[in-house]
Symmetry: C2
Subunit: 253 residues, 2 copies
Amino acid sequence: MSYSVGQVAGFAGVTVRTLHHYDEIGLLVPGGRSHAGHRRYDDADLDRLQQILFYRELGFPLEEVAALLDDPKADPRAQLRRQHELLTARIERLQQMAAAVEHAMEARRMGINLTPEEKFEVFGDKDPEAHAEEAERRWGGTETYEESQRRAATYTKDDWKRMQAEVASWGERYDALMAAGEPPTGEAAIAMAEEHRQHITKWFYECTYEIHQGLAETYVSDERFKEFYDSMRPGLAEHLREAITANAARHTS
Amino acid sequence: MSYSVGQVAGFAGVTVRTLHHYDEIGLLVPGGRSHAGHRRYDDADLDRLQQILFYRELGFPLEEVAALLDDPKADPRAQLRRQHELLTARIERLQQMAAAVEHAMEARRMGINLTPEEKFEVFGDKDPEAHAEEAERRWGGTETYEESQRRAATYTKDDWKRMQAEVASWGERYDALMAAGEPPTGEAAIAMAEEHRQHITKWFYECTYEIHQGLAETYVSDERFKEFYDSMRPGLAEHLREAITANAARHTS
DNA sequence: GTGCGTCCTCACGTCGGGTGAGGTGCAAGC
DNA sequence: GCTTGCACCTCACCCGACGTGAGGACGCAC
């Protein structure tokens, strides 16, 4: 069984030119040539191509791909293990990005102004310095709630107002609920947690129960988020977190 | 608050040159310039840069990134929704790739010879034609079990033999177990399922309970995989699937 | 023999930047 | 006051991973 460039290009989903290129740079030299000089790929070549495409997809430069594949002390078992690790690492990375996106949007929803460093946190730039100076800018600056609101206002003003009204209404009702001594695991609190989740879904993005729980954690762990909720009533942040957790538990069981 | 190229490059984790480039092509033009002609980026620029990097990371060409960001009918809400969708789609894709890698390795373990089309299945090339002709090659070909074994033999011969011995031993014991009338949910069968899982982990890759269950499904749904197991004893494939499921359930509860 | 389809080999174009070369503006140290 | 250093500027060529013709060879079909 041997295949022409066209056939291989066909089922591998690459162009003929790409195969030519790989031949040129010695990354994938076909097992043989026909008498007319046409490239003939055998099954081993296909296996190799599959591996090449795998690593390419994950963004490796071709030179490194060659190194990985020609590594003599990497048998198929090691290859597989590596591929599997790469994939799971990648997935984790994306999940972190998703979490960061959710986080960023929550900040926006509350009119919290992230520092530049925080904005780029997603991209994994663990550079924990310039932190004193940063706090200066953050708390000493003159950027107000109002101002950051203005910046977020690519919404129509009406939309924004209506959303704020919903938030306010929800806040008052949650305040009342706590005043009445309702526990976080009670029906009333759980209903409010669910309303909170649906508010996010309505105005921002599909907020799953899982995501919601993630957000709940930051409401108590991040000072600014906590302040947002505690300003409605002291202790609200924690109360809400527990209600959200209870609500999530109910729906994932 | 405004920042120089160097500062921005710093916390965004890109080079100064990149920022120059983005300015040149009009993708990110700084809000202003200092009297000396130095670029000054303001907070809105940072937000935009963050978005740019997000889409770039997902592989969009810069021109498209510009189109996405300058789309007038995409408010922050729509952006967020889109980003979130892109991420979850990407994650799903990677998970499929991971599953395909697992699948490929199982095939190798059993000496099953995938058709070229199957080898590239991962890369999503749904082209369900040329299927009759394909079956010809697949079943009519002369490639034997032996041959495909040979190709997979980048293992040391010893390793391969020892692995095969383990498989054989396991098969005999599973055969006996079924002959004795053990149910798939019984202790003995579950122990065999667990041994099966650990065999894969030992020789190939970290096989989680979740992955194991995925494999179990293909053992009954893919004719060739089914044949591999049923040749040890008719009905073994299905028996094993249920045992694996029971074993997985025990460990994830 | 004349299409046609697929293959071949140059060889230049494109995209997203990297990497100097050579020059300017400004603060600090001598 | 002068120079040294640093961060910035523009101009311009270089690179990887192909895309995109141009111009030609093969084989089969009519």
